[in-house]
């Protein structure tokens, strides 16, 4: 472990870059959107956490006892009730998918964010050690533990939400009603002439508005988690000498405690905005056919 870390710490830039590099299939991404690359670490960790959540959910759902809830069932029930309350408050006419979507986002994002609380070198060193045991080069083994510090994850979620927004729009307004809504809002006119004049502006505004939704969702989560992770890495750099260790411990603890708030808050915000967007998408405007 010290072999892997010693040179990294001696070179802070390399240390941080090493931690920010993914374990990828297909080499380094060349452009902003390179679909020839697959980040194994991101996918493995997020899928593992999804599996963990699914396993706990399955156990709880299978052994559910309405009269004598165990501690796990209690905790899960609390989360379910909390999410259900949010859905009911924000989206009164929600169909049966909104709740599961919301709780999946909430819990999964919390779990992925919580990977940030693991010591920054723990998993990369473990993976490096395992690779080293099999004769690989630990120094060129990369493993990025927090899936939400990766645009793929945050935009994967955001883009899924974007598709759901379109689905709920079409469901409530019909295809033509949805397309028409691009031309009729946010500026509304009474007469046909006014409508025609305002149509280009409306189209421009609505397209921006619609695209801003997934982009802001994805970037907000990514930005918060990436910054948090970077700060953990910078705090980890304080390990350059024994004398800086207390400072590292104090700063690391303080940031970790504060980061608990960020982790849950970002997951909550993502979930809440998703419900809000889906609720907005399901509202049919006055003259449109009400579904």
């Amino acid at each position: 472990m010290s072999d892997a870390n010693a040179p990294a710490i001696s070179n802070p830039v390399e240390y941080i870059q090493h931690h920010l590099t993914n374990w990828s299939l297909g080499g380094k991404p060349e452009s902003i959107a390179d679909f020839g690359v697959f980040h194994l670490d991101v996918f493995l960790v997020s899928a593992l956490l999804a599996g963990l959540f699914a396993y706990v959910a399955y156990r709880v759902g299978k052994n559910i006892d309405p009269d004598n809830p165990g501690p796990v069932q209690n905790a899960i029930e609390m989360v379910v009730e909390f999410v259900n309350q949010q859905v009911r408050d924000i989206f009164p006419g929600a169909d049966k998918m909104v709740g599961p979507i919301a709780i999946t986002i909430f819990v999964w994002v919390i779990l992925m964010n919580a990977m940030d609380l693991l010591p920054v070198d723990l998993i990369p060193s473990l993976v490096g050690g395992i690779v080293g045991m099999f004769g690989g080069d630990p120094h060129h083994t990369y493993f990025k533990v927090v899936p939400t510090t990766n645009l793929d994850t945050t935009f994967g979620l955001a883009f899924s939400v974007f598709l759901l927004i379109i689905y709920y729009n079409i469901k409530s307004k019909g295809v033509s009603g949805y397309l028409m809504s691009f031309f009729l809002h946010p500026f509304e006119a009474k007469g046909t002439v006014g409508k025609v004049i305002l149509a280009p502006f409306n189209l421009f505004m609505t397209v921006i508005e619609e695209i801003a939704k997934p982009v802001s969702l994805g970037l907000r989560l990514f930005g918060n988690m990436f910054a948090g992770e970077l700060l953990f890495l910078l705090i980890a750099l304080l390990a350059f000498s024994v004398w800086a260790m207390p400072v590292q411990v104090v700063l690391g603890s303080a940031w970790a405690i504060f980061h608990i708030l960020v982790i849950t808050l970002q997951a909550f915000v993502f979930m809440l905005l998703t419900i809000v967007y889906l609720s907005l998408a399901s509202q049919s405007h006055g003259h449109d056919e009400h579904h």
Binding site: S24, G26, P29, S31, I32, A33, D34, F35, G36, V37, F38, H39, V42, F43, S46, A47, A50, F53, A54, A57, Y58, V60, G61, K62, I64, D65, P66, D67, Q73, I76, E77, V80, E81, N84, K96, M97, G99, P100, I101, I103, T104, W108, P147, N150, L151, D152, T153, F155, G156, L157, F159, S160
Partner: protein, 156 residues
Amino acid sequence: MNVTATLIGQMIVFTILIWFIRQYLWEPVLNAMEARRKRIADGLAAAEQGKHEEELARQKALDELKKAKNEAGDIVARAQKRAAEIVEEAKNAARDEAARVKVAADAELEQESVRAREALRSQVAGLAVAGASQILGREIDAKAHAKALEELAAQI
């Protein structure tokens, strides 16, 4: 800062997870919570009903008790009345009986006295004849003096 094929993988995982959570967590937990909510509501309603019924039963018991007390009072009053009547009847009967016995006794007494007088009367003649004969030193013919004797006897 790139978007890669991982994005598609994440979307697939997300979709599967949503479906799985809905199937195995969301629906069962909400159903269980709804069932619990209903059971609690039912239980509270049943408790309310039970309380109400208890109140009714208590009221009914009180009514019954009152009725029973009234009835008992009636019965006691009737019994007392009846007892008084019986006593009265007994008194009357006794009085009648006493009167009757007295009358009979009186009648018997009267009869006895009459009989005794008769017997005396019948003997008086004999005694008077005997006494007179003793005094006179001779036999008196009762027949000859029957008229006198009868007058004598009638005086007694």
